[in-house]
């Protein structure tokens, strides 16, 4: 008979108690229980493949903004006088049933004297292969360094075996013979950043005013609430239009850019402020908020350190959902000619050329800049929906 079997029922082991030994977690369970909030959110987000794909797509686009000059086959303002309103070139792989690799056919131009317009048709005799990392139009990288490197270009092989860089217009050209694809790539710079800067502005305003209203309540809350109601009863676009029309004509294009961004940001915060306010109203009654106040924390610290992190993830999700409205706002303003003006190039400025329906009917590729707009807005919506779902990983 061993000692343990003779123990009385009320015997308590003198060993220190360690719950880990009695309830052993499997490695997966442990990984799950020990994970941080942000890690859990990431796991939950990966359950929405559409959101992840959209996020990756947007990351890629934002990364492309850094290298616009290299990615674009042509320079932003490069005019090709011989190719006015040239139609988009199609990418081919086979010529006469023979595999060549990616290539485009050159243009054959005929003049239609009756309609007074030039007609470009693909010329099957000219085969321009796609070359990678070749030197083409000269540009200044970030406006600073002169360079010629382009990701891709069209190459014509001459009889003597040398190769010559030919213009390539995968999306066609506009009325000045500028490559639309290149202009879309450059336009992404303005169109994508305007959303981010605008949202940053509205984030700061919304957080501050919503925070004040929710934390203090009383008359502060009343004033902010009335302000929100007033702002919301203005139809957004006409107000944007009026404000951007008020920007002085003498401002430089960059000045106008910042002016428009500020206008977009200044009017977009009410939704955010409302969300912050209602959350804070509930959270400020929690014990830990009272504890922090009693320990002498300033209101700014209580809000910023103890209350905000509670719903930061929700805020990020709703921010993601409101970036598209900024991008669309800029596009609409520039489309109407009230927003950005050339030489600043954004997708809205490009679409401005498509305002005339007769031009669009004759040269339909002028509305191609709408494709990236729709894609980006869709991607932000999908990502935002996924984030909103993932924002509360403990549910």
């Amino acid at each position: 008979m061993t000692v343990s079997e003779r123990r009385p029922e009320h015997w308590v082991s003198p060993e220190p108690f360690d719950p880990q030994t009695t309830e052993i977690l499997t490695p997966e369970q442990e990984r799950f229980y020990m994970a941080s909030q942000w890690r859990l959110m990431w796991w939950k987000l990966t359950r929405h493949p559409l959101a992840v794909v959209s996020g990756a797509f947007l990351l890629l686009l934002y990364a492309s903004v850094v290298f616009s000059e290299v990615l674009a086959p042509h320079e932003l303002h490069e005019r090709h006088a011989r190719f006015i309103y040239a139609q988009p070139q199609a990418l081919h792989l086979f010529h006469d049933g023979e595999f060549i690799g990616p290539f485009v056919y050159g243009y054959k131009m005929t003049r239609d004297l009756k309609l007074m317009k030039r007609i470009y048709t693909p010329d099957e005799d000219q085969i321009h292969r796609i070359g990678w990392f070749c030197s083409g139009d000269k540009y200044r990288f970030w406006g600073q360094w002169e360079a010629r490197l382009h990701l891709f270009c069209a190459l014509e092989t001459r009889a003597d075996g040398t190769e010559k860089v030919m213009p390539i217009f995968l999306f066609g050209t506009d009325r000045l013979g500028r490559d639309i694809l290149s202009r879309i790539i450059y336009g992404a710079r303005i169109s994508l950043t305007i959303g981010l800067i605008g949202i940053a502005i509205s984030f700061v305003i919304g957080l501050t005013l919503g925070g004040l209203a929710g934390y203090y309540g009383g008359w502060v809350d009343n004033v902010v609430q009335r302000l929100i109601e007033m702002l919301r009863s203005f139809p957004e676009l006409p107000l944007w239009m009026a404000l951007s029309a008020a920007l002085p004509v003498t401002w430089s294009p960059i000045g106008v850019f910042f002016g428009i961004t500020v206008i977009l940001g200044l009017l977009d915060w009410p939704g955010l402020a409302r969300a912050v306010r209602s959350k804070l109203l509930a959270l400020r009654e929690e014990d830990y908020a009272a504890a922090a106040t009693l320990m002498g924390a300033s209101p700014a610290r209580v809000i910023g350190r103890h209350l905000l992190p509670n719903f930061m993830s929700h805020l990020i999700a709703s921010l993601t959902l409101s970036i598209p409205s900024m991008i669309l706002g800029e596009t609409a303003l520039s489309f109407l000619g009230l927003g950005l003006r050339p030489p600043v190039t954004s997708w809205g400025v490009l679409l401005n050329e498509a305002q005339n329906i007769n031009a669009v009917a004759t040269y339909p590729w002028l509305i191609l800049p709408m494709v990236p707009v729709v894609l980006v807005v869709l991607a932000f919506n999908f990502l935002g929906d996924g984030l909103r779902d993932a924002a509360d990983p403990y549910k």
């Binding site: 009863s233 006409p238 009026a242 669309l328 489309f335 009917a361 509305i367």
Partner: protein, 341 residues
């Protein structure tokens, strides 16, 4: 109910006042005014006589007075050059560019704007209600998935681009122009039955274009609300008691989900009015949008101001109606408002 109504009307007055003030500040924002710019131009051209006439206009419209006084005159609570004549007296001011009173320039544009927006609101509700209910009741069915996809695309496509695409297809494939709000022969004519029919026919495309994104949003929200309600205990209880599903749906959850649906007009209306302004430019509708853009560009301040004020007032009135509707629908709201007093 009556006190709530009065209360709600009283809240509208300060709101409208602030809106008029903001509108006035905005139209005053650009440096200089139309008349000063014109005077500068005429002086450059060496035509001081014409400049003299404009100087007279400056006085006539009180452009040389202090801002606050100008605002009061514009609003009609302070005597101007010819006594009280401002917005409150129904005088919208003078359009410098067209050299005519604003109400003559505007014509029936404001009315047509109203008709367009009103029809669009009706369209949005009529279309989104059945679809929203269907997608919630038949969650994850094929129809639900299709509508979700369509809804996403509807939300993501800016309506002015949608208008452009429709115009493009109509032009290339049918060879017709679908712009405008009536046949050319009725432009400037007084309202008649034929004109009315013509307007109705031309309304279809713009209403669909402007209403699409609003409808998509409405469907999504109604679906979410109804799904929340359908999971609640009382639905299970009613079901176990043997209520048929249609009767159950209409009797309880639908009524609950209807509240946010009606309240949503507060979000919907500014969005629709914004949308209609830009779509009108693309489709060249004779509503306030195109002229507003034009007036803003040429700093025709009273014309622009009238349009801005009109559009904002439309929104405020819309919200007022939705609040009243809500109070009729839901006793908690009107009683809550009275209790909190």
């Amino acid at each position: 109910m009556f006190t709530y109504f009065i209360q709600r009307v009283l809240i509208m007055i300060p709101t409208l006042l602030v809106i008029s003030a903001v509108t006035f500040i905005i139209i005053q924002l650009p440096p200089g005014d139309f008349v000063s710019n014109e005077i500068d131009r005429l002086k450059l051209e060496g035509n001081p006589a014409a400049a003299q006439k404009l100087l007279y206009m400056r006085e006539e419209f009180g452009l040389d007075r202090p801002m606050l006084e100008q605002y009061a005159v514009w609003l009609g609570i302070w005597p101007g050059a010819h006594g009280f004549s401002g917005i409150l007296q129904g005088d919208l001011g003078w359009s410098f560019e067209f050299q005519r009173p604003v109400d003559e320039v505007v014509g029936d544009r404001l009315f047509l704007s109203f008709v367009l927006n009103f029809t669009t609101v009706i369209f949005v509700y009529v279309v989104s209600f059945p679809i929203g209910v269907y997608t919630a009741v038949r969650q994850y069915s094929v129809g639900d998935h299709v509508m979700t996809l369509v809804g996403y695309i509807g939300l993501a496509t800016p309506n002015f681009l949608l208008a452009l695409i429709l115009l493009f297809f109509a032009k290339t494939y049918f060879g017709v122009s679908i712009g405008g709000l009536m046949e050319d022969q009725y432009i400037g004519q007084p309202m008649s039955w034929d004109k009315f029919v013509s307007v109705l026919q031309h309304l279809v495309v713009p209403v669909i274009v402007i209403g699409t994104s609003g409808t998509a949003g409405m469907i999504r929200r109604l679906r979410a609300n109804l799904l929340d309600e359908l999971q609640k205990q009382y639905v299970v209880t009613a079901r176990t008691k043997g209520l048929t599903s249609t009767r159950l749906l209409i009797k309880y959850p639908l009524r609950m989900a209807l509240n946010p649906f009606v309240a949503d007009i507060g979000n919907l209306l500014p969005q629709l009015i914004s949308g209609s302004a830009i779509v009108a430019v693309v489709m060249s509708l004779p509503t306030s949008g195109p002229m507003l853009v034009h007036a803003l560009q040429s700093q025709d301040q009273y014309l622009a101001g009238s349009f801005l004020l009109f559009l904002s007032t439309l929104t405020v009135i819309g919200m007022f109606i939705s609040d009243i509707l809500l109070a009729v629908l839901d006793p908690r709201i009107r009683l809550g408002a009275e209790v909190s007093r």
